[in-house]
C-alpha cells in the first residue's frame, strides 16, 4: 500500500491541558528538524500530527526517523481518502491486494454523523474485502493482519501497522541540563534518558593531557555526536583538568584522590551549568559500581553541587546500562580503548566510607577557587551535531 501520509500519535502530551499547544509546537519543531532532508510538511491534525510530501520509497526511512523523535508515541503510514463509503471500501481492498491470510478490520469514527457506526463499518469493510480480494479469511480473535479504518471529520484513513515510537517528551519541553560526559558506557546513557524527558543537553568533559590523548577526546566527541542524533546539537565544554589533579595529588591523601576530583568536577559543572542557564546537572552514576559510588561517596560528591543532580542510572545494573547503550548506538564507541593512558591519578586504596568533614579538611589545603577559575578560563567549547538554530 502506498502511503500518502504518516500519522504521528503523541503520548503524554495529551495530558497537558492548557500547556498542550506549547508541547505540540515543540514536537512539531523536533519532527521538522528530524525530517529536514526529506522536505516534508508537518501539521497538526486533530490531536495528532500528519507528515506529508515524502516520496513513497522513502516511507520506511521517514518512519524510522520519526520513531526516534522524543515525544512520538506511535506512527502509521496511511492512505488518505475521501470519507465516502465506496471510496473507503476500495482503498481498504487495495491495501489487502497481493497477500493472503487471516485478518480483521478495526474501524473508528470521530464523525458521529457518519451513516455507519464503528461496528457496522468494520463489518461492511470486512465483507467487501472478502468479496473482492482473494485469499483472505476473517479471524476476529487472533488475526495475522489488522486493517484500521478511521473516519475523521474531513477525511478517512486506511492503514495497517502502528509501530511504537521511542516515547518521552519533545526536546525543549523539559528545560536544559549539563551532562558530565566521560568516555565510558554510562554517561551517554544517562544523557539520553534525560533528553527523552524533553531536556536539552549541554555537556562537560574533563581532559588531562598528556595523560589523556587527542584520541580519547575524539571518542567523547563521537559519543556526543551519537547522542545528538537523538536530541539535537550539543555544545561540549572541554575542561583542562591536569593541573587540578596534580595539586590534589600533591596535597591530599591518596585514598581521597578520586572523591576530591569528583567534587571539583561537580562544582565546575555547576558553574558551567549556571552560565549556560541549565537547571540541573546529569551524571551516569549508579550505586555500587565503583568505590566512588557507594552511598557515602555519592553523598560526599553530591554535597559539592549547588544545582539538582539527576542520576537516571542510580538503580540500574551494568548489564541493563549496556543494553541501553546498544539501543541508543553509543555502546560500540564507548568500548573503544582510548581512555586514560596512565593510572597515576587512581588511588591504590580508595576510601569507600568517606567522612565529609575529612574530605573538606583535605580540600581546604587547596586554593579551590583559583583552581576552578583557571580551569574555566581555559575551557574550550566544541559544537557537535548541527549548530543550534
Amino acid at each position: 500500500m502506498q502511503a500518502d501520509v504518516i500519522l504521528v500519535r503523541v503520548g503524554e502530551i495529551h495530558l497537558k491541558g492548557l500547556n498542550r499547544p506549547f508541547f505540540e509546537q515543540m514536537l512539531i519543531r523536533q519532527v521538522r528538524l528530524a525530517l529536514e532532508e526529506y522536505g516534508v510538511k508537518v501539521e497538526r491534525a486533530e490531536g495528532r500530527l500528519s507528515v506529508r510530501g515524502f516520496a513513497p520509497e522513502q516511507t520506511p526511512q521517514v518512519m524510522d526517523r520519526l520513531r526516534r523523535v522524543f515525544g512520538v508515541y506511535s506512527v502509521s503510514a496511511a492512505r488518505e481518502v475521501s470519507k465516502d463509503l465506496d471510496t473507503v471500501r476500495k482503498a481498504a481492498a487495495e491495501a489487502m491486494q497481493g497477500r493472503s491470510g487471516t485478518f480483521k478490520v478495526l474501524a473508528r469514527r470521530s464523525d458521529k454523523q457518519y451513516p455507519l457506526d464503528s461496528m457496522q463499518l468494520a463489518a461492511d469493510i470486512g465483507g467487501y474485502i472478502l468479496e473482492n480480494v482473494p485469499g483472505w479469511t476473517v479471524d476476529v480473535k487472533n488475526p495475522q493482519h489488522k486493517l484500521s479504518v478511521e473516519i475523521r471529520e474531513q477525511v478517512a484513513y486506511v492503514y495497517e501497522e502502528t509501530p511504537l515510537g521511542v516515547g518521552g517528551m519533545p526536546i525543549g519541553t523539559g528545560g536544559k541540563a549539563m551532562l558530565l560526559l566521560s568516555g565510558g558506557i554510562d554517561s551517554p546513557v544517562a544523557g539520553w534518558m534525560c533528553a527523552k524527558r524533553g531536556m536539552r543537553l549541554e555537556a562537560v568533559h574533563f581532559e588531562s593531557p598528556p595523560y589523556t590523548s587527542a584520541r580519547s577526546l575524539e571518542k567523547v566527541l563521537q559519543l556526543a555526536k551519537e547522542l545528538s542524533l537523538w536530541c539535537g546539537p550539543i555544545r561540549v565544554h572541554v575542561v583542562p583538568f591536569t593541573d587540578v589533579q596534580m595539586k590534589i595529588h600533591d596535597h591530599c591523601p591518596d585514598g581521597e584522590l578520586t572523591l576530591i576530583m569528583r567534587r571539583f568536577m561537580m562544582r565546575i559543572a555547576c558553574r558551567l551549568a549556571r552560565q549556560q542557564n541549565c537547571g540541573a546537572v546529569i551524571t551516569g552514576e549508579s550505586l555500587g559500581q565503583v568505590a566512588s559510588q557507594t552511598m557515602d561517596a555519592l553523598g560526599v560528591t553530591d554535597e559539592s553541587a549547588d544545582l539538582p543532580v539527576f542520576r537516571p542510572l542510580i538503580s540500574f545494573d551494568k548489564v541493563e546500562i549496556m543494553e541501553r547503550a546498544r539501543h541508543i548506538g553509543t555502546y560500540e564507541t564507548s568500548i573503544l580503548p582510548y581512555e586514560d593512558c596512565c593510572t597515576v591519578f587512581v588511588p591504590r586504596h580508595p576510601v569507600t566510607r568517606p567522612k565529609l568533614a575529612n574530605i573538606k579538611a583535605s580540600e581546604s589545603k587547596l586554593d579551590v577557587q583559583a583552581l576552578e577559575d583557571e580551569a574555566l578560563a581555559n575551557t574550550k567549547q566544541i559544537w557537535v551535531g548541527r549548530k543550534e538554530l
Binding site: P210, M246, P337, C341
Partner: protein, 390 residues
C-alpha cells in the same frame, strides 16, 4: 599547540617526509606524464623508460641487480609476495619456514597465515641485543627448510642482523632454502655489504626513504621461483599485475637517486644525530636506558630508550604538546595497550618496556632540532616523574 610548520619530527621509523625531488617527480607524473606505461604510443614508452630508470636507482641503492627488482605497493605487500609467492610457486606439500621472533607484522602475520595453512613455522629467538645469532638459527635449520626470513634492521631498536653470516649458514645447511630479508628499515641506512650473494629475496619501501607512501620494491634473485599474488595484466613480469603507480615509482626513484649521491654523508649525519641525542640525554636526564644496540652501533637512524618511572604513551603526548613527535612501540601497534613484542623478546621487563620511546631520524633532521628537543625531554620527563603512583 605549535603549528604544522614548527614541529620537530623524530618518528622517521614510522614514515618520512618526502624530499622535494620526490614530490616534484610525483607531481610531474600526475600533471604531464600521466600515460599508462603499457599503452602503445611514444608517450607511454617514455613513461616506461622513466620507470626503468627509477628501478635502476632503487636497485643501486639496494646494492642488487636491477633485473631482479619488482615494484610493489609497499613494504607489507613485498613481504607478503616474498612469502606467499614463493610457497605458492613451489611444489605442494608442507614446508618448513623459519622467521625471527621479532619480525614486522607484515612477515609474522603472513607466516602465521601459512602455519594455519598447514606449514611448519618456527620462530628463532633473539639475544638481548635484539639480534639473531648463528647458534640460535643453526638449532632450527633443517636440510629441507624451505624459507628463512630475518629482517635486516629492526624497526623498533635499530638492531642490525648479520645477513651475510646468517645467509651463508642457511645455504650451507639447507642449500635449497630461500633466504628473505625485510630491508625496509635498512635501505639507505645499512648496506647489504657482502650479503648480496646470499640474499634470495629482499623487501624495501618508499615512504621510509623520503619518497611517497604506497610504493615499494621486492628484489628476487634470478632463478628464484615466485608466483605473483596480484594477478591481471601481467605488469612487472607477471609478478605484480596492475597499472604501475607511476607517481609513486618516480618519487621512489628520485629519492633513491638523492640517497645515492649522498650515501655515506647521510649515514654519517644520522649517526651523528643519534649520538648527539644519546649523549645529551645521558648528560641531562637521569634514569635513561638504551634498548637494543649501543648508540655507536646498530642502524644510524634509530634510538630506542626507556625513561624509568614514565609511561611511554604519556611521555609521547607530553612531547606532542610541545611540538615534538616521537614513536612508541611500533607505529602499527601503537593503538593497542600492549607491550612491544620486540622488547619482550629481548628480555626487557614490563616496566622498562612500558617506558620505551623510539627516536628515529632522516637526512632532513638537523643538529639544531636535537639541541632544541633535549631540554623539552628533560622538562617533561621530570614533570611526569613527579606524579608516580604511590
Amino acid at each position: 599547540m605549535t603549528e604544522q610548520g614548527s614541529i620537530i619530527y623524530l618518528d622517521n621509523g614510522a614514515t618520512t617526509k618526502p624530499f622535494d625531488e620526490a614530490v616534484e617527480a610525483a607531481l610531474w607524473a600526475m600533471r604531464e606524464d600521466y600515460f599508462n606505461p603499457s599503452s602503445a604510443y611514444a608517450q607511454a614508452l617514455s613513461v616506461s623508460k622513466k620507470i626503468q630508470r627509477a628501478r635502476e636507482n632503487v636497485a643501486a641503492l639496494m646494492g642488487l641487480p636491477a633485473a631482479g627488482v619488482v615494484f610493489t605497493g609497499g613494504g607489507t605487500e613485498g613481504d607478503n609476495l616474498a612469502l606467499l609467492g614463493s610457497v605458492t610457486a613451489a611444489r605442494a606439500g608442507k614446508k618448513h619456514i623459519i622467521i625471527s621472533a621479532i619480525e614486522h607484522s607484515a612477515v609474522s602475520e603472513t607466516a602465521h597465515f601459512l602455519s594455519k595453512q598447514g606449514h611448519d613455522v618456527d620462530l628463532v629467538p633473539v639475544d638481548v641485543s635484539g639480534r639473531v645469532t648463528c647458534e640460535a638459527l643453526t638449532e632450527r635449520l633443517r636440510p629441507d627448510t624451505f624459507l628463512v626470513s630475518i629482517m635486516h634492521v629492526n624497526n623498533e631498536t635499530g638492531a642490525v642482523n648479520d645477513l651475510a653470516a646468517l645467509g651463508r649458514l642457511v645455504h650451507e645447511v639447507s642449500p635449497q632454502a630461500l633466504f628473505h630479508a625485510d630491508g625496509v628499515q635498512a635501505l639507505g641506512r645499512v648496506a647489504l655489504d657482502g650479503a648480496q650473494s646470499e640474499i634470495d629475496l629482499y623487501t624495501v619501501s618508499g615512504h621510509k626513504i623520503n619518497a611517497t607512501k604506497g610504493v615499494g620494491a621486492l628484489y628476487i634473485r634470478k632463478g628464484v621461483r615466485l608466483v605473483g599474488m596480484q594477478l591481471g595484466g601481467g605488469q612487472e613480469g607477471g609478478l605484480r599485475s596492475g597499472t604501475e603507480n607511476v607517481p609513486g615509482i618516480l618519487a621512489f626513484g628520485a629519492a633513491a637517486e638523492r640517497y645515492l649521491k649522498n650515501k655515506q654523508q647521510y649515514v654519517d649525519h644520522m649517526f651523528a644525530l643519534k649520538q648527539r641525542l644519546w649523549n645529551g640525554l645521558c648528560e641531562s636526564v637521569e634514569g635513561v636506558i638504551i634498548n637494543g644496540p649501543h648508540a655507536d652501533a646498530g642502524a644510524p637512524h634509530i634510538l630506542n630508550v626507556s625513561f624509568t618511572g614514565v609511561r611511554s604513551e604519556v611521555l609521547l603526548h607530553a612531547l606532542e604538546g610541545e611540538g615534538v613527535l616521537v614513536g612508541m612501540g611500533s607505529a602499527c601497534s601503537s593503538r593497542r595497550v600492549k607491550i612491544s613484542v620486540v622488547l619482550r623478546a629481548m628480555g626487557l621487563d614490563t616496566e622498562r618496556a612500558q617506558g620505551a620511546i623510539r627516536f628515529s631520524f632522516s637526512p632532513l633532521n638537523t643538529e639544531e632540532e636535537i639541541d632544541a628537543v633535549l631540554p623539552i625531554i628533560k622538562r617533561q620527563v621530570e614533570l611526569l616523574r613527579r606524579y608516580q603512583r604511590r
